[in-house]
Amino acid sequence: MSVPPPGSSGPDPTYATATGRSDVTMPRGELALLIAIVIFSVVTFLPITHNVSLFGIPLMAWMLWALMVIAPAVGLVLSLRSGKE
């Protein structure tokens, strides 16, 4: 692998084609998952969860555990459904 000369500046001209940056798109399923994670996270930390417990364990902890199970599970399903690149 060759490298740029020391002190050279500016983006790598091969970068745009190497990464597909110019036409990079996010599958709708992944976008939906990201939005769902953000919304769920915001709700989890809202004051309504702060002093509520369920089966002796704080509701916020339950919600965070649910998030850490659901997010990678859905992410795995989406990854398995995607084609090889």
Binding site: S2, S9, D12, T19, I57, P58
Partner: protein, 482 residues
Amino acid sequence: MQIAIVIAYFVILVVVGYLAYRKVKGSTDQFFVAGRNLGTFINSWAFLASLASGGSLMALAGTNLSLGFTYLAATTAGAPVGFVVASILVARPLRKLGKYTLPDYFDARYGSVIMRWMVPVVIVIASMAYVVAQLKGASIIAGNILGWDYNVALWVAGITFVLYVSIGGFLSVTWNDIFQGILMFSMIVGFGVAAYSAMGGFDEGFAAATANFPALGDAGLSMSVWAYVGGFVTWACAISVTPHVIMRVFSAKDVRSAKVSLNTAMLIFVAMMLIGFLVITPAAGGAITSAELTDPDAALLLLSERILSPLFQGVVAAALLAAIMSTTAGLLMACNSAIAHDIFKKILKPGAPERQVVWVANGATWVVGVICIALAMNPPEFLIVLYTGAVALLASAFFAPMVLGIWWTRTTTAGAVAGMLSGAVVFCVAFFAFDLPTTSEVLFGLPTSFIVTFVVSLARPETAVAVDRDSAVATAPRHAGT
């Protein structure tokens, strides 16, 4: 018995390192990214081993007992979410780029001289803080279970991991990560079964635990809510820019494999953590009184002494050391690649042959390793805070320029440099100059980095950005043969 098991474990690590050395044979592609053909199964366990550190396992029961379930739930949940974020936002473009390291990405995307120096230097500083914390954990384990002197344990563990990283590079780290990941998972499952049997049912165990540690059943928050939010956001964003995790994305055989590995690893990690939360924590709370728990990090080890046979205590010690050493080895690889590949090869001596780069990486591993061991001999009291701060610094400085650089074509080099610098500076000021809630400093650094990157990029007219991009593609390739 415990000492024999732990020594056998150390010997296996070094033997694996030697076998990897015979395969690497001076190739940078083999040394830094294991030939770029690691499969999904291998990478899943390796991702798990890289993430599950001594802190994840050792601090689990004690932190829950002292602070209640919620704080550790927030920081723990941040990591699986962070892996999902990484698999969606950065895995595909990074793997397709076909480079070695995080600084490679920034260099390819922005080509900034400032970044070329700043990124590897920040990586080395943050990784060293992380390594020192892990080494301290290793020595505590050896001291508690094996009865070794702190400094003896520190040098034995430290030299072992430096040895296997330096001789076998990333391939050695990967092979050992698989072994260590499976060992950790088996230990937690076995420990969970033993703990459940010992506490005689969940209801009884939970009642006894909350009687000894009232914080466990407290619905209220024991700290400011911003500490919980900060802990979650730190890990949710840091995973995408944590060098020892990102190097695994580069080593995957293809994009799909990288994404499947990231998510599979997290499901295994989540299973381990839930066993820790729902079984091991109440069992520890029932078996240990609050007066006995002078050091929360030792709760798991105390429980191990109470309910496990000497043989299984040795396995627990080896698994905890595995958790520490796998993370530490990955971080050491991040340091040696930052020094040998990103500074020596790319800046100081561009024409250096591959064998010379590998030798520099070996030397860097030893220098960094020995410095970290020396620092861990007298670790500062605020070490855990410092290590979490190191991860948050990476997120504050790198996350916005990384994600915007991939997904927003208007991001300019000036914007990314300004965002990186401002995120790092604001984080450091918040961390060192203000008494903010623990782990909440990232909530200042990260938004600052996003806003500055965005505003400075917008300051350059869109037509000029498009012209820059077109002319860059039109000029002769600088990185032919990547």
